[in-house]
């Protein structure tokens, strides 16, 4: 729908509304300046795009981080003491403590899990993998969102991130060589692209060949019913030294803090810039609309309009443009993002209803903020101006 035809429709709706209610000077003024309004709405749509993309990226990544931990289906994550387990502070534990863990009161099941970055060459290109080696007996730590092929691996098999497959032309049934070891690709996993690394899943036994002898990164623990998580954490930490036990939720949070922590300020900054661009666009439009019609506001004042009555006109103009911009933006931007994702698979953005609600509220807020300066200008218009010849 073009903005111009929208203008025509709104004009006709206008005429009907005037008969029932009041003549809206605001809407008339906007209908009179269609191209200016259209350009402004375009600017707001871009600002909505920027905001939704940033917030959506943040959302997508934090959901992914959550899934990376909670998808492992463990009650507790055991790490070496003080290590959160992320890229930056890897956890290393001796395999030998698995027996000790199993004997602790309240522990029902223990599985080792390897998660480690590994730089490999695929098609002569350097690629960073995030290796995930899980215990196929318990299945804990295995892939949580396979979109193609098997969702479990056996020795010699691998499930890889779908965007890695897409980028490198890999397919289910094909082969992937990692450090001279051949793996058969048996499945593709979604939402496991960490931007800096692609997740791949293999058996614990295969994965441990890439790590030091006798070492794992984590143990995943299932807790017996009848015990609280806190009780079992306490039991573990008091019977084993140099070990931390945390709930899945806490581990996920630590993970997100560490990996996304550095990005979140950037997300917020860019979203804020998006918002400011929106306010600026509406502000400039309103300013120019107001100044173009400064004399007309003077006329209204002279014939007895009160300042609040005139402010309402400016505010109405601001709200119409901003809400229209944000509504059109919210309609247009999500499909636009979907289309872009076809071409740029790494472009991981999740848009939620809450975000849409937030964007609408921002629209209203933007309109109010953007009308402040024009309203101040109008307050200063002298109605006596009307008596001077143009």
């Amino acid at each position: 729908m073009s903005v111009l035809s929208f203008g025509a429709i709104s004009y006709n709706v206008e005429v009907v509304m005037d008969v029932i209610f009041m003549v809206s000077v605001a809407r008339r003024n906007l209908a009179h300046e269609k191209s200016k309004v259209a350009v402004s709405i375009g600017g707001i749509v871009l600002s909505v795009f920027l905001i939704l993309t940033m917030v959506g990226l943040n959302e997508a990544f934090s959901t992914m981080m959550d899934d990376m931990i909670t998808g492992a289906d463990a009650d507790l994550w055991i790490t070496s003491e003080g290590a959160s387990g992320s890229f930056h502070s890897p956890s290393l534990l001796p395999i030998s403590i698995q027996d000790n863990l199993t004997q602790i009161e309240g522990v029902s099941e223990v599985s080792p899990l390897i998660r480690t970055p590994l730089s490999v060459k695929i098609n002569d290109e350097k690629v960073l993998l995030y290796l995930n080696g899980y215990d196929i007996e318990t299945g804990l730590g295995g892939p949580w969102s396979v979109i193609e092929g098997k969702s479990e691996v056996e020795n010699g098999e691998i499930i890889i991130d779908r965007t890695l497959a897409q980028k490198q032309g890999l397919e289910v049934g094909g082969n992937l060589t990692i450090a001279e070891k051949d793996f058969r690709i048996v499945g593709l996993s979604d939402r496991t692209n960490l931007m800096i690394a692609y997740m791949v899943f293999m058996t614990f036994d295969d994965a441990k060949t890439f790590l030091l002898e006798g070492v794992t990164n984590y143990f995943l623990v299932k807790v017996d019913s009848g015990y609280t998580l806190a009780e079992v954490i306490n039991n573990i930490e008091s019977s084993l030294t140099d070990v931390s036990a945390n709930t899945s939720t806490d581990t996920a949070q630590a993970y997100k803090d560490e990996i996304l922590g550095g990005f979140i300020p950037i997300f917020y900054l860019l979203s804020t810039i998006g918002l400011l661009v929106g306010i600026q666009v509406i502000g400039v439009l309103l300013y120019s609309l107001t100044m173009d019609k400064a004399k007309e506001y003077g006329i209204l004042k002279a014939v007895g309009a009160t300042n609040p009555q005139i402010y309402r006109i400016v505010l109405e103009q601001a709200l119409i443009v901003s809400i229209l911009g944000f509504v059109i933006g919210s309609i247009v931007v999500p499909p636009l993002i979907s289309i872009m994702q076809i071409y740029v698979p790494e472009f991981l953005v999740t848009i939620t209803p809450n975000m849409m609600l937030g964007v609408s509220l921002l629209g209203i807020l933007t309109g109010i903020v953007a009308s402040v300066i024009p309203v101040k200008k109008i307050a200063g218009i002298d109605p006596a101006l009307v008596f001077k010849e143009a």
Binding site: V25, I299, L300, K301, A384
Partner: protein, 295 residues
């Protein structure tokens, strides 16, 4: 003239020693100087005077758009001194209709909407406002033009829309500042006739500030303003510029003689134009007539 201050509901406008000084100290200009004046209900007053004599300022004082530096302005029995901005707006909205030199319509609105807007401001809404606006425009002979934008109307038509707008809230007082200045003489006459009919049919009080001597015919009373003061009589010091018909000071140096008569001009430009074709201007019948009448 002696003015006693007392409540009199038959008076639409009363001024008591109203003075307006613009600026301060060494830059100050006394635009209206100690003017006292009564205008009765239904009276048509024309205020004349040379440029800069304070006509517009006086209109603005009466129109609640300026506060007098000293003195009182009373509209329909209410002293404007000390009224809140909101109350002054209400008086402008409901008790006074304004007609300006240029029509001053809102460009994005059609003729009818321009009239509706001021009705809306006063709380008359929807179909009621629309009906009243349409009736007024019909009275102004604009029944076929209601949905035209100002840019689609002639100057005279625009000015008639402005008059309809001034009448919309049925104010007792109409204030007009040079309402014909932008119109050719024929259209100017039409607008004047319209104002006169309204005044007489609807009993409105009309105050018109103008240079245009032809408007004199419409007045019940002509006031002569000079240096911000009202003189009862036409000042002997003034004469009419035969080209632009403005009043000029007799002591003006820009003069020429033609067929034994001395003519005075407001500017060299008028003088030059006169000299190009003196016969066309010197024999303007109404000029002679007016100059004599005024004396």
């Amino acid at each position: 003239m002696d003015f006693e201050q007392h409540d009199d509901i038959d008076r639409a406008v009363e001024l008591y020693h109203a003075t307006k000084v613009y600026g301060s100290k060494h830059t100050s200009v006394v635009a209206v100087n100690d003017v006292s004046l009564h205008v009765e209900l239904g009276e048509i007053i024309v205020i004349m005077g040379p440029s800069g004599s304070g006509k517009t300022t006086l209109i603005q004082l009466i129109g609640a758009l300026l506060t007098p530096t000293s003195g009182d302005v009373i509209i329909n029995g209410r002293n404007l001194n000390g009224l809140s901005k909101k109350e002054l707006s209400r008086i402008r909205r409901e008790e006074i209709g304004f007609v300006f030199q240029s029509p001053n319509l809102l460009s994005a609105l059609t003729a009818i909407q321009n009239v509706e807007v001021v009705l809306n401001l006063a709380g008359v809404k929807g179909a009621n406002a629309r009906y009243r606006a349409e009736q007024l425009l019909k009275q102004m002979g604009l029944g076929e033009r209601v949905n035209h934008r100002p840019s689609q109307l002639s100057g005279g038509e625009q000015q008639r829309v402005a008059i309809a707008r001034a009448l919309a809230n049925n104010p007792q007082i109409i204030l007009a500042d040079e309402p014909t200045a932008n119109l050719d003489s024929k259209t100017g006459h039409e607008v004047i006739r319209l104002l006169r009919n309204i005044a007489k049919e609807q009993g409105k009080t009309i105050i018109i500030a103008t240079h245009d001597l032809r408007i004199r015919d419409l007045a019940d009373r002509v006031l002569w303003l000079e240096d911000g003061k009202i003189s009862v009589r036409w000042s002997d010091g003034f004469i009419i510029d035969p080209v632009c018909l403005m009043l000029v000071n007799r002591s003006s140096e820009i003069v020429t003689t033609y067929e034994g008569k001395t003519f005075h001009f407001c500017t060299r430009k008028c003088k030059e134009r006169f000299e190009e074709n003196p016969a066309a201007y010197a024999n303007r019948g109404f000029w002679e007539d007016l100059n004599e009448n005024m004396h």
